[in-house]
């Protein structure tokens, strides 16, 4: 039996969808259940009924179309009006069920943040609102650990789940809970060293928590270690360059940075196009910094620790030589290498001998 025919809904006249008159355009042949539920929901939304039965109706529709953002937003309005802790807690199970149906869904993850803001308040305003919630403190309270666990469960079925990683960043940033994060990335990288989402998150954690003496070498060693499982791993090269030039290097001791760079500039036997490309980028990026053309106000690059390295011009020229070779060895990127060579040559003309 359709919902609208049930006694519970006898007082509601369904509101039809106001399709444009004339020929159908991208019109969906809704099945009866969906059309019927939406008809009722439109009527409730029109009179802004914020009740338990309205809440239930939003569940019915969301299970049929988990991307219906208007309905998700209405659901949140209802939850706020009901202001019941039990109702917000029940969202965890509801979202779990929706996730089973479709995990790659913006609305679900946006809703999850709204729920976490209520159940795990992190600032004065959120705590104030939480204190106004009706209902007893229940046994199955939600905790930060449970939230982090949930995210890891999602990684079990999709280790590169974009929304899940983004959600984790959001949670750790608002709660400042960094304890487990580096270890998590090590586990994920061990499972799959090609998991760039894990490397990206690792960089984020290191950047947020800083680099202490000796740890830069440790991070580099760990990354090089991952190359044992395959030299053709773009994620590792990007990560290494990131450590050295995109932030973490600012807080590391100068000798550490210089020593690491010295080591990486050494030729590696059997390296393919990716390794050569990495070294070229490393040389060129270093050249720009030693010449004061990039990162100019960082004292690091004028440190005597770098004095044993080739001069900027030589470094830049060695990069150009590698890119010339790569035009043939990595032909799909020929156009990009040509561009990089042209840019480098014009820079080299400005460098002292």
């Amino acid at each position: 039996m359709l919902l609208s025919a049930q006694p519970e809904w006898a007082d509601v006249t369904p509101t039809p969808q106001l399709e444009a008159p004339g020929e159908p355009v991208v019109r969906i042949r809704y099945d009866e259940d969906y059309e019927d539920a939406m008809g009722l929901l439109r009527s409730l939304m029109a009179k802004q009924e914020l009740s338990d039965r309205a809440l239930h109706l939003t569940s019915v529709v969301i299970f049929m179309n988990s991307a219906h953002l208007t309905v998700w937003e209405y659901r949140r309005c209802i939850l706020r009006a009901l202001n019941s802790k039990a109702r917000w807690l029940a969202e965890l199970e509801f979202m779990h069920e929706v996730n089973e149906l479709n995990t790659k869904n913006y609305q679900l993850w946006n809703h999850r943040r709204a729920v976490v803001e209520v159940l795990l308040p992190s600032d004065t305003e959120e705590r104030r609102r939480a204190s106004l919630l009706k209902g007893e403190t229940l046994e199955s309270e939600h905790t930060l650990d449970k939230e982090l666990e949930h995210i890891e469960e999602v990684f079990e079925s999709d280790a590169k789940h974009y929304h899940a990683w983004a959600h984790r960043q959001w949670v750790t940033e608002r709660h400042g809970c960094w304890k487990r994060e580096l270890a998590l990335t090590e586990e994920m990288i061990e499972r799959d060293p090609h998991n760039n989402s894990a490397w990206n998150y690792r960089f984020y954690v290191i950047q947020s928590c800083g680099v202490s003496s000796g740890s830069l070498q440790a991070h580099v060693a760990h990354a090089i270690g991952a190359l044992e499982r395959g030299l053709d791993n773009e994620a590792v090269y990007a990560f290494l360059l990131g450590l050295l030039f995109r932030g973490p290097h600012r807080k590391a001791p100068q000798e550490d940075v210089a020593a690491v760079i010295q080591g990486l500039l050494t030729e590696r036997q059997g390296g393919g196009a990716r390794w050569v490309s990495f070294q070229a980028t490393l040389s060129y990026s270093l050249a720009l910094r030693l010449a004061g053309l990039e990162d100019g106000n960082l004292m690091l690059w004028t440190s005597p620790a770098f004095s044993s390295l080739p001069c900027p011009k030589a470094l830049a020229q060695s990069a150009v030589k590698k890119w010339e070779w790569l035009k043939m060895a990595d032909g799909v990127r020929k156009g990009a290498y040509e561009l990089k060579i042209k840019i480098a040559l014009s820079t080299i003309r400005t460098l002292p001998e």
Binding site: V26, R29, E73, Y162, H194, N195, N200
Partner: protein
């Protein structure tokens, strides 16, 4: 040594792809062996049957869609845009003041077959399309995913872009530009960590898509975003989303991703502020996205190729190159900065469905859909940009045909509505 999970799925896909590329290239060599050069129009990639197949596939969604499409019930303006934009690239459009979908005057495969003619005859009129879009507009400004739905910046973009594509004098008449600008301005976050960014709808998520969608809408309707938005704050937010890899994530700290990177750079370009991010590092990352075996692009490092990135990554690289050329004298540019031959082979030999069903797909093994058909065709057209006529080029910043955007600009200027 055991394969990592990534290597396992990549090698499985590559087996299929290499087989299709080998087969396709052998067949091609069996013909007269001529390959289209970049001076040919984009449609020279296809034969008549292929074009008609894709056209029929797109047309199959323009009127009525099966019940399973209810999962896209909040995205109907997108469905309209993917379909009419895809058709317009194939040379099928509502021409001039005409009410019916017809092949354009420059369509190279005239006359169309009887079958296609019949399908075109059954397609909705221009007025019906415009009417549908209007039914999604809200008095508070912007467009929702369907009638009586919350305005969303994505469906607003799709609705406006669909209007531009469907074209004609009156296409933008229905747009309440004042309410629209007010809606878009309200979506900008005014305080806190995400200041400058945009929410996609009231109570919705905040991410990089929104910056682009908002800016693209302002561009198409001919309004100056500086009047309604804090562009400095937007630029700061976008800068904060560039990762160590060089690409952009959806939010600060998120992994560099093709869709978000296109949105970031295109939003900046629309604001005239592309110089304010590390373009060199962006080039570094973006150029790594084209895969040497498959020829197509992936969206993130070490992920699988997907034909839709032909647009997001391809257009991004075209924009990067355009900007770098303005900064530095790069001399004669023969080809696109990406390998256009490899991209074409990937799209044509691996992602096309045969004429019987038509349409283009994410990758071998996937089913065709309107989204992938739209973006694979958009990406493919990039390979033929250089020297092409405006009706054969899609605008890099809005992804609507250049001639249609130019016609719109001209009309808005004549009516003194253009404030950019």
């Amino acid at each position: 040594m055991a394969l990592t999970p990534t290597e396992f799925e990549t090698s499985s896909l590559r087996k299929k792809v290499v087989a299709l590329l080998d087969e396709g290239r052998a067949l091609r060599r069996g013909d007269d062996g001529s390959t289209a050069t970049s001076t040919d129009s984009f449609l020279s990639c296809f034969d008549k049957a292929e074009v008609e197949g894709h056209a029929r596939f797109l047309l199959s969604g323009l009127s009525l869609l099966k019940p399973g499409f209810r999962s896209l019930d909040a995205s109907r303006p997108w469905l309209l845009f993917w379909i009419v934009h895809g058709l317009s690239l194939l040379g099928i459009e509502y021409e001039g003041t005409g009410e019916n979908l017809t092949p354009a005057s420059w369509y190279p495969f005239s006359p169309v077959t009887e079958e296609l003619a019949r399908t075109l005859g059954g397609a909705p009129s221009k007025t019906s399309c415009l009417g549908f879009v209007a039914s999604c507009q809200n008095s508070s400004g912007g467009y929702g995913g369907g009638p009586q739905q919350l305005s969303h910046v994505a469906t607003t973009y799709a609705a406006v872009a669909a209007l531009v594509v469907v074209g004609g004098r009156d296409a933008l008449e229905q747009v309440d530009r004042e309410a629209l600008a007010s809606f878009l301005g309200r979506m900008q976050v005014k305080h806190g960590k995400r200041k400058g960014a945009f929410t996609v709808h009231v109570g919705g998520e905040v991410d990089m898509r929104a910056c682009y969608l908002v800016m693209a809408v302002f561009r198409m309707v001919g309004l100056d975003p500086a009047t309604f938005l804090d562009l400095d704050a937007m630029v700061e937010y976008i800068r904060s989303c560039q990762t160590y890899e060089g690409g952009f994530g959806g939010e600060p700290g998120n992994e560099a991703h093709g869709g978000y990177s296109y949105c970031a750079f295109a939003a900046l370009a629309l604001a005239g502020r592309h110089g304010e991010v590390d373009i060199y590092q962006l080039l570094e990352w973006a150029s790594g996205r084209q895969q040497s075996v498959e020829g197509g692009f992936n969206g993130r490092t070490n992920k699988l190729v997907d034909s839709c990135y032909s647009w997001w990554q391809g257009a991004l690289l075209c924009l990067i190159e355009e900007h770098l050329c303005q900064e530095i004298d790069l001399g004669e540019r023969e080809d696109t900065v990406f390998h256009s031959g490899a991209l074409q082979d990937w799209i044509l030999l691996c992602c096309q469905l045969p004429p019987k069903s038509g349409g283009l797909r994410d990758k071998p093994g996937a089913s065709p859909d309107y989204y992938h058909t739209c973006y694979a065709l958009s990406g493919l057209s990039l390979c033929y940009r250089r020297g092409a006529m405006p009706h054969n080029r899609t605008d890099l910043l809005c992804n609507v045909r250049e001639d249609k955007l130019l016609a719109l600009d001209e009309r808005l200027r004549r009516e003194h509505k253009h404030t950019r």
